[in-house]
Symmetry: C2
Subunit: 337 residues, 2 copies
């Protein structure tokens, strides 16, 4: 049906090696023949088969990205950075959305052993040692985003420092009863993502540094989500000595906290301060104070690292840290006296 390189060669009266050279801008072809070949290509509306090309070359110019819950605003923004950078280099992006542990395992097992992608980006998931071993056995270049593991290249932020930053902000405002709302603590054992855990660690450090006791009744963990965070917040507000400020491990969870406050007509920040993490798009709309991390950039930078890995010879740095900063809006204020 569609014209092949052979047709072009025949019609142009040249060898098909020459057509290939024209296609690949090889200098080893005279201007005259190049012109002739080009016009035949035009005439035949020839378009080289990318799949045959990939096969011959052994490269696909495609990168796979595995992401948990890719609808989360923070993940989407990372993906946007990935796609933009990939597209600028003519690479394709195939995405795998992971919403269960089973699928997480499946993706991490299958994607690298397929030769359908030249490289792999893993977002917010920590590969296990045996999985890392499989990557190198399959010689599949991998870059982690928002995660760190076994010397793999990656870009992330210092979540512990972020947790401290958020908590310190609340402390400096004068809060003493500061609660934490985050993902389940057992998460690292199943899904293997750790941000919430690290932010929680930073939270505890900041409290300790301020000489405050660690009060476990102020620590609430549940599945990542607005609704879950809302439920947890109601639990906190039911406490005999409820917190005056809440640090949510993500902006999404902070939204749940805000909902709970609204449920009870508790004014924010007058009677309750709320701080989130990520600075996703809507954080601004909500006036949410949060810890900003560069999401788009994390994806873009990860692709750059992957390209370094791809062009053998250049070793990508094992791991990079991007900067975070505090974005103060209108959901945090000194506690009511």
């Amino acid at each position: 049906m569609a014209a092949t390189i052979r047709d072009v060669a025949r019609v142009a009266g040249v060898g098909l090696g020459t057509v290939s050279r024209v296609l690949n801008n090889s200098p080893l072809v005279s201007a005259a023949t190049r012109q002739r070949v080009l016009s035949v290509i035009e005439e035949l509306r020839y378009s080289p088969s990318q799949i045959a090309r990939n096969f011959s070359l052994g490269r696909t110019r495609t990168i796979a990205a595995i992401a948990p819950f890719f609808t989360r605003p923070s993940v989407v923004e990372r993906l946007r950075g990935i796609e933009a950078t990939l597209a600028s280099e003519g690479y394709h992006l195939v995405v795998f959305n992971v919403e269960t542990v089973a699928r997480r395992d499946e993706c991490l097992r299958e994607v690298p052993r397929n030769d359908r992608a030249d490289g792999l980006l893993i977002i917010s998931l920590v590969p296990r040692p045996e999985e890392i071993r499989a990557f190198s056995e399959a010689s599949m270049p991998v870059v982690l985003i928002d995660a760190c593991a076994g010397g793999l290249s990656g870009v992330s932020v210092d979540d512990v420092a972020g947790g401290e930053l958020a908590t310190t902000h609340l402390l400096e405002l004068g809060h003493r009863r500061i609660a934490f709302v985050g993902d389940p603590l057992e998460d690292p054992l199943t899904f293997n993502f750790t941000s919430s855990y690290d932010r929680f660690t930073g939270y505890q450090r900041a409290l300790t540094a301020a000489g405050l006791p660690i009060q476990t009744e102020y620590h609430r963990h549940s599945l990542h989500g607005r609704y879950e965070a809302r439920v947890l917040t109601h639990e906190l507000l039911n406490l005999p000595d409820p917190p005056t400020a809440i640090f949510a491990a993500s902006d999404t969870q902070a939204m749940g906290v805000l909902e709970a406050a609204r449920d009870r007509d508790i004014p924010v920040p007058a009677a309750l301060s709320v701080i989130g993490f990520d600075d996703i798009d809507i954080a601004e709309h909500l006036g949410l104070t949060t810890v900003r991390q560069p999401l788009f950039e994390s994806g873009a930078r990860a692709v750059e690292l992957l390209f370094m890995l791809l062009s053998e010879g250049i070793a990508a740095p094992p791991a990079e840290r991007l900067a975070i900063d505090l974005v103060i809006r209108t959901t945090t204020a000194p506690p009511a006296t």
Copy 2:
């Protein structure tokens, strides 16, 4: 480096056709040899080259999706439906994010002519006639999502009816000064998406049906986005006779409307009713009244249609319509008297 089918055949002492048959679960192989081949595959840690397989088969088991601004919550949710359905059939999804007209044109031109995808999903973009012709010339199966064009298969909602639904809701509450905030009217000529335009048409129809005049000063159009909608809303509220209700062409724009109201301390819905469109995830958080459309389902259904197209013989219906419904929350109420 990695073992090939030839290695497996050699070690197992069989022809490589037999190995291929084992790989493809052909019944034409005895249990004994199958077992032997399987164990050699295990032993050699052989994994068939998908890329060679694709090349040989002429299929990639990959579907391409082109989406404008794939970070928009509504688009992401459609993509989630696409990915989930694709994954359940073992298909891969490669996404193209379009944020400029140039890239829109490039994607619509290049993606179908590459044989790197078996089918194409186009979200919220209306292909031009010559583009549609190119699809069929390249015999690339295409399914549209949130769009309609030239007899192409697709799934969408009746945006005109949706616009009427939203506007009628406001009318029934007693509003008479109802404004519209949406995308630029010229949009169909550039980016070629039309939802906002259709919703605007529905809005006008509802007003006309109610015997109300069409007042152009109540019609505001600008680039899709919260900030832009906010600016437009300020213009509306500056009018000598400001509207008592605003219909925003999307939830995102409705958020901008809400921001403007907040800027001026105008209570919603007491002094201003606001209704959006889409029912994206955060609409619930905001208590936004809106017109719901099935986003996830639109993606899932589109994939089903594409699969019908793929399995030749089954002709997919030219276009399907999904149901919409009004979700009344807390941003609409009767006008202040």
